[in-house]
Symmetry: C2
Subunit: 224 residues, 2 copies
DNA sequence: TTAAACCTACCGATTACTCGGTAATTTTAA
DNA sequence: TTAAAATTACCGAGTAATCGGTAGGTTTAA
């Protein structure tokens, strides 16, 4: 859990897939066709994981989805866990810009979160995959457990820091517990996602967050 | 999804376990020993489900936990799904009194929820089982999907009704959307449970709900 | 005495993964 | 430019393990 674990770029991802016992950093050859295949596989795997979860999904089905044999798929991702980690890794890159732009002021952060939720609600497949994996990762020895814990911890730290900055510059009440507020925000977002997963057609996830945030802003004295 | 599905009592639960093709309601013979075993099995299964989820847990392990062979366990619960449904059923009976006593006024309901959360936090095994199953039930074709959907729907209805009663008698603002507020409450509770499951030692689930509820009461004008 | 409470032995399906090979593609060198 | 060399991209046919469930019997308890 040491903060190490450097972010892998598309470039160095190849090495990651081999057992990597030594310090050999020999460059890997990649064909254009192979890259395309890997992208297909990742996308198909996400669809499968979104339906059945990671543990219950069969990589043989993923292989068939992209017109490959099972060994054919395993050529690109040697184990099922590698496939999962590749998906998580890709998300890591994309969500770099989650908090970044809004890190400054609390009001902007909270409004920004609604924006992210709205944007996400238009990428249903992706968000569904990660919501399912998020829930599934609560189980013992789940291979994505550390990833989701790290992610939640870092998110909480970032949000808490913004709250504490707001306390420091006097824009909100000094008695407010930044870490607790951050936890509550994460809880609300995860909880709303669960409700939405249970009934995607009827439940208005974005509206739910919007209502919560705007009431929160009033109660913090930042609006209204 | 038709509201049918009558609640089963301990008495009639036996019949439920057989394939029940006909309308034979012949009384079953039950030994004291058998009842004890079934209780043991249920408890052991909950522990297993709490760790690995339903799909990934092996009923063979449950059998070994209570000193039985697998067919020995299957004598009491003919299929794995039967075992799951028996657990859910038991919970149904126990949580009959969840909302009941608090159904009357909104302030009492919200305060009561904190109390329930506090009581739950002392039954970690049970709450962990249901939180894991709740999350897992989001997956496609999960056998507990309907149960958790029904439960959430009914809970939302009950809470929403209390909100609307509060609107009707003028104790809270008339612009408040009861159903949306109910959804938010459920989301907060589920989300807090997820955070707690991810890190049971550090995260204060009860305190988190308490903080949310008390801010909500103020913002509704019911307190402070 | 009669049904419940078990057990041993087995089965069929599924699943992640391996082995040993062939075809396709890319890089390198003449 | 082109052909050989190197490596990737696959596939068919396994394999070992797991798991839910069955068949058919014996023992135990009401």
């Amino acid at each position: 859990m040491e903060g190490g674990e450097k972010r892998r770029t598309e470039e160095t991802m190849a090495e990651f897939f081999e057992s990597n016992t030594g310090q050999d950093e020999k460059r890997r050859r990649r064909s254009r066709k192979g890259e395309a295949r890997r992208a297909e596989i990742l996308s198909a795997a996400m669809r499968r994981f979104a339906e059945d979860g990671y543990q219950n999904a069969a990589i043989g089905d993923v292989a068939r989805d992209v017109g490959l044999s099972l060994p054919g798929l395993l050529h690109h991702f040697p184990t099922k866990v590698d496939l999962l980690l590749a998906i998580l890794d890709k998300r890591d890159l994309e969500s770099e810009s989650f908090i970044g732009p809004y890190r400054s002021d609390l009001r902007g952060l909270l409004k920004g979160m609604v924006g992210v939720f709205r944007r996400n609600s238009e990428m249903i497949e992706v968000i569904r995959t990660f919501a399912i994996l998020n829930a599934e990762s609560l189980m013992k020895d789940h291979p994505a457990k550390a990833w989701f814990l790290d992610r939640a911890t870092q998110l909480q730290n970032d949000i808490a820091a913004t709250f504490e900055r707001a306390v420091a510059d006097g824009s909100i009440d000094g008695k407010i517990d930044g870490r607790a507020m951050a936890a509550e925000l994460i809880a609300v977002m995860d909880g709303l996602q669960m409700l939405w997963l249970r009934d995607p057609t009827r439940f208005d996830m974005v509206g739910g967050l919007e209502a919560y945030i705007s009431r929160l802003l009033v109660s913090l004295g930042l609006e209204g």
